[in-house]
Symmetry: C2
Subunit: 397 residues, 2 copies
């Protein structure tokens, strides 16, 4: 079996010509009977048609098919968009002799254009005949939009001689500030996990991974992450195997973090991968607010792009993050281990040379200590570059 | 008397060489005895030294001098920054035989560098000898940093044969999302206004002007706006002249709006002036949140830069603005009067051609109707251009 494969799961890819001709843009995942699938979705009030339908169709966590198209988000398309989405599910059901409400549809691409469901229907037989356990790598490419790299990760979990595998793929590089989920992520395992446990495991992993990244602060209308368990291995999670659950959760979270960070590293126009770590907060929410305010500041992001140790912009962002009664004289800031500011001002030991050296690497850790409590939060983000503008000013044309 | 002059107020400008040699960067405003000055300041927790000192020194609203330097914000400078600020106030007091705590200091420029107070002290005599009622235009240039245009406005107010004048100048083009105040604004009038009334009038005007603009969502450490009334005209505002107060307030608010919009039009790299008008909200806070979320969305801003009617990005931003139980099917959106979206989807009447035409002008009105209440809010903002990045990635070098 190939490195990326999960027994009980087959993937098929086809070229539907949804936005461009001649590229894989349709992915069908077939899930063996008896598997369970959990899913989390965007909290954006404008939810795309496939988000509404997938959430409804997964009520029993017994999906048989996942259908993903790239090139068109089927969002902001009203009733015609819902009809197109339902029609694509019905087309799969007809081809596979199953029922439409066991299909979970996912769309990603431009917002506001009607989904060309006829093109999807025409390409579906090709996707069905292509179904294979070995197709993860092709599928990880087929779900891409402005991504420059496919995002595919695998973990093997072992406990007491029992093993299972977790494979996941994700896509996304713009409109990234997931809220309960990210762009699109599809994770599967051959572990046996009860449906009642699966959802909580997925949410725990997503909260520590996809929900901690932001590229531009824009939350998509189509965000979704799924976790499918086929139960085809001897690795069994049940109320009587708490150790197995713990080891699996840890591997799942690690895999989700890798996939989430892959999205940041492939962020539109990104030249830096930046971890913003806030400690000494009174609450996680407070730490998170400071980290996100710094991460979203266009002035901080342009300074990161310029590798400019313009730490004053970071202090200004911290200062407007809404932390009540913040004692700015207690705040300290370091970049890649170099102490930059303390006591609300530049550190005595700081030199411009040290600042320039600290900002030079592609990977940056901005550590902010609020010194008023014990809670922490970390956000992963990128800089703001000319290429971000180029990609987003020219994306539709 | 020149068009821009207020009896009782003299301005002096000098070249202190704070950041660059050979440009006016120091402005002194002398306020006649018996005048009142109100001031509002940034809510950023990291408040620059001059903000702390100016607020303290204005406790009695009886300031005699306003001292403004550009090129250095004296923010994030800790105790040495406070000492430098106090020393600059003391230097004026010594030159003018007044007391230091009747000086209001203001600084704007790079954050985190110590204020070169010796250069200010050396240039102050030049500023004092330059004092003149006719110097507003030069002062409006001297307070600029990355601004490309001075911002200077005048209004004449008349009621029952009594007249007064309001003159104001402002500066700012980046790190703009004022919170109770904006970058720097200095307004003066020769009306007679009791100190107890002045503060409320300024706050009312600021709330409808400077607090409604945003360029990059970054709130400065140095924001401040002042309003000085010299009482040298026959226009008197008192509890027994409610009509005069109303007419004056209306003119003051209009002037403040002009100065605020001047800042947006001169926004760093701005190629568009965009009003985002949200109506049909349940509360002003809700309307404001939607307008700001749209205004800050990098994806909306890049689409504005490209004159791309990518309305899906606007809907996505509305959807993540945190409006509870938003019925997206009721939301409608128009740009410069062209109906783009309704019922949560593209309007039937919409054509791509109409969208492109609507987005072409430099001045755009994005009107969003949430259709769930009667409250409204308007935010003025800009697009996000290559030049914004260029200015902010290269500002410190």
């Amino acid at each position: 079996m190939s490195e990326f494969s999960i027994p009980g799961l087959r993937l098929g890819v086809a070229q539907a010509g949804i936005k461009h001709e001649g590229r894989d843009d349709l992915t069908l995942i077939e899930i063996a009977e008896g598997s369970s699938t959990a899913a989390v979705f965007t909290l954006n009030a404008f939810r795309a048609a496939p988000v509404v339908v997938a959430q409804r169709n997964n009520a029993n966590q017994d999906a048989r098919y996942i259908l993903i198209n790239s090139g068109n988000a089927n969002a902001g398309t009203g009733k015609p968009g819902m009809n197109a989405c339902e029609a694509s599910c019905a087309a799969i059901a007809k081809l596979t002799n199953d029922v439409p409400n066991r299909v979970l549809p996912f769309s990603t691409g431009v917002i506001g254009e009607l989904l060309p469901v006829d093109k999807i229907e025409a390409a579906l037989p090709e996707a069905v005949s292509d179904l294979s356990e070995a197709n993860w790598a092709r599928a990880a490419r087929a779900i891409m939009t402005t991504d420059t790299q496919p995002k595919l990760r695998v973990k093997t979990v072992e406990l007491n001689g029992q093993t299972c595998r977790i494979v996941g793929m994700s896509k996304g590089s713009g409109m990234i500030q997931p809220n309960m989920a990210t762009m699109l992520g599809f994770i599967a395992t051959d572990a046996a996990i009860p449906a009642s446990t699966l959802d909580g495991m997925l949410r725990a992993a997503v909260n520590l991974s996809f929900n901690q990244i932001t590229i531009d602060g824009d939350t998509s209308t189509n965000d979704a992450v799924t976790l499918t368990a086929t139960g085809r291995s001897d690795f069994v999670i049940s109320p009587t195997t708490p150790d197995a659950a713990q080891v699996f959760q840890s591997a799942l979270t690690a895999l989700a973090k890798e996939l989430a960070q892959d999205i940041v590293r492939d962020g539109e126009g990104a030249t830096k991968f930046v971890a913003i770590e806030v400690s000494g907060a009174k609450s996680v929410a407070e730490a998170d607010a400071v980290a996100r305010t710094v991460a979203h500041s266009p002035l901080v992001k342009t300074a990161l792009f310029a590798s400019d140790p313009n730490w004053g912009r970071i202090l200004a962002a911290i200062g407007r993050a809404g932390v009540k009664d913040l004692d700015v004289d207690a705040v300290s800031l370091s970049i890649n281990g170099a102490l930059i500011a303390e006591n609300g001002a530049r550190a005595d030991s700081y030199t411009e040379q040290a600042g320039v050296a600290a900002m030079a690497p592609e990977d940056l850790l901005i550590a902010i200590d609020l010194a008023r409590g014990n809670e922490t939060a970390t956000i992963w983000t990128t800089d703001l570059s000319y290429d971000y503008l180029k990609i987003n000013a020219e994306y539709r044309t």
